[in-house]
């Protein structure tokens, strides 16, 4: 079983549209994991049936029993996250600022503060239209610990792939280089970097590929909207060569990306012509690279 992770550094480069296309091309042999839990979009293209769902608890949150509170103010003084404030003579916890460290509860002289488990989101196992299974999730608003939810989604997908003897796990990662991205990279067999030929695209590609290098994972790159800027595109190809990253393909700037999405379709379902051909060829290449 091989694990392919698609990330981009910069958002909006077409990562999810491309990942969903690979999921369709891979069909029943690919378990999909939507690890962009912060702004998950894959479900809009894959017709998931939400067959199974489970609450995700992670971390803790402080809770003050107002009846027992003596208003000594110790809790507010030790909190480093400015999460406790005096409001109408009552100490109040701001749930969006509380990081659940538990310090306030530990020093409260009257044991008025308790830490409760925090509901951080929900995760799902769905049958999807490619004839396979997708594990996906929704992070609660403003929740911390998205890295842990990413790990949960990935591990569930792994278990399913293992039990059902699937060949591949395909992971849609999140933008950036922080904790959810690091979490989605751990254990990957191959990374697909999706970029665009712009100053930001290249800048972010450089940062994210440094991160991939730290994990020592083989990588390939797709340049989307390649015809927007020929010079930048050449610069990216040069960078890929220097960094020993396989250049998988170039995709043109094509409004069929949006048109497909608007109909809830992947690109390879909507466009049976050039775009499908290019993506099918990339998918073949990726499978070849990852199994070698």
């Amino acid at each position: 079983m091989k694990e392919i992770v698609v990330i981009s550094g910069k958002g909006g480069t077409g990562k999810t549209s491309i990942t969903a296309s690979f999921a369709i091309l891979g069909g029943g042999d690919v378990v999909v994991a939507d690890c962009d839990v912060d702004a998950a979009d894959m479900h809009l293209l894959m017709q998931p049936d939400y067959d199974y769902s489970e609450d995700f608890y992670s971390g803790e949150i402080a809770y003050i029993d107002q009846n027992k509170c003596t208003h000594c103010g110790k809790c507010a003084r030790v909190c480093r996250f400015d999460a406790i404030s005096l409001n109408n003579k009552q100490y109040i916890i701001d749930p969006l600022s509380c990081e659940g460290c538990g310090y306030c509860a530990r020093i409260c002289p009257t044991e008025t503060i308790i830490n409760k488990e925090r509901l951080a989101g929900k995760w799902f196992i769905s049958n999807i239209k490619s004839g396979s299974i997708m594990v996906h999730a929704r992070l609660s608003i403003g929740a911390d610990n998205s890295g842990k939810l990413v790990a949960k989604v990935k591990n569930e997908a792994k278990d399913i792939a293992f039990e059902e003897r699937k060949g591949f796990i395909l992971v849609d990662g999140s933008p950036g280089i922080g904790c959810p991205v690091v979490s989605s990279l751990s254990g990957a067999s191959f990374v697909v970097l999706v970029t665009e030929p712009s100053v930001s695209g290249l800048h972010d590609l450089k940062r994210v590929s440094k991160l991939v290098k730290k994990f020592n994972i083989k990588a390939g790159c797709i340049i989307n909207k390649a015809d927007i800027n020929a010079a930048k595109c050449a610069e990216i190809m040069e960078f890929l060569k220097d960094e020993d990253i396989t250049h998988l393909t170039n995709l043109p700037y094509d409004e069929n990306f949006t048109k497909a999405m608007t109909q809830g379709l992947t690109i390879v379902e909507y466009d049976k012509g050039e775009l499908r051909e290019i993506l099918a060829e990339s998918w073949r290449k990726i499978k070849q690279l990852v199994t070698n």
Partner: protein, 294 residues
């Protein structure tokens, strides 16, 4: 809050790549034609605003987060430190206390509850802050070192730096990170107004609804800018109407914009519709600002 200067506008979006940086940089440059403005890039994982300005930093400093450092000579192995750490960032292995900086949230519990002061807090570098100045534009950015996972402390630090530095400027613009989790909360929680920029597609709409929920949970006033208007469908407009969310501007879809952006160029001087959109956006923000003072 009402008297605090400057008026702080965050530019945010649930989905990445909808035009946060394009709007932030163009709006800042547009304002700078008339008056001083501060632009702060809080997308510390992938800061891009700086690619659209030239100039040398007038100030540079390291960003730190505070982590406990074990002082073996003082430790009595009482076990309190690892018992109180909710993040498993402090553990005892034989007669050694190990600290995992990437798991530490800098809550100080282990350090302050240690009876023998054996875990003093020390700074650990997580990235770099740079402060640039060109004419009327003050530009501040922070970037996380590769491999550092926690964006929140760097965002918080950058906000503090910019607040202390440019008290006399009327407008500050925060280019925020994408998503809806802790980094966005940190970037937007003490601004005066939030602009959510989206695109009129199913992904754009879905992520906008999440961003709206986040802003409502924070109790922030916000409005929407629709970018690449003309692609996709009108579901975003219908949603905003239904939810009584003001639409500040619709920036038309135009391949020329993508091309200019790709070369690191500002757009509003070249494309008149963009300049008109910026005027509308600024007007709306200023009306909000005045409304607050009343």
């Amino acid at each position: 809050m009402t008297n605090s200067k400057p008026f702080k506008i965050a530019i945010a979006s649930g989905k990445g790549g909808t035009g946060k940086t394009t709007l932030s940089t163009n709006l800042a440059a547009f304002i700078a034609e008339q008056e001083e403005v501060v632009l702060v890039d809080l997308d510390v994982e992938e800061p891009n605003s700086g690619l659209f300005f030239t100039g040398e930093p007038v100030h540079e400093e390291d960003n730190f987060k505070m982590i406990p450092h074990w002082d073996e000579s003082r430790c009595t192995f009482c076990g309190i430190c690892h018992k109180v750490c909710n993040y498993h960032a402090v553990i005892q292995l034989g007669l050694t206390i190990l600290v995992f900086p990437e798991l530490c949230h800098s809550c100080y519990a282990c350090s302050e509850l240690c009876p023998t002061d054996a875990l003093p807090m020390v700074p650990k570098k997580t990235g770099t802050l740079k402060d640039y100045q060109t004419d009327n534009l003050h530009f501040i950015e922070s970037r996380l070192d590769i491999g550092e996972e926690q964006a929140v402390p760097a965002i918080s630090k950058t906000k503090k730096y910019s607040a202390g530095k440019y008290d006399n400027v009327h407008i500050a613009i925060f280019d925020s990170p994408p998503g809806n989790s802790c980094p966005v909360i940190e970037a937007t929680k003490d601004v005066d107004f939030v602009i959510l920029i989206t695109e009129p597609t199913p992904f754009g709409l879905h992520d906008l609804t999440l961003a709206v929920e986040t802003m409502r949970a924070l109790g922030k006033p916000f409005g929407v800018v629709v970018n690449r208007y003309g692609i996709g469908n009108d579901a975003v407009l219908q949603y905003c109407q239904r939810e009584h969310i003001p639409i500040l501007a619709k920036i038309p879809n135009n391949r020329k914009i993508a091309e200019l952006y790709s070369s690191g160029k500002l757009i509003y001087q070249e494309i008149s519709e963009v300049k008109a959109s910026l005027t509308d956006i600024l007007d709306f923000c200023m009306k909000t600002a005045e409304g607050e003072v009343e």
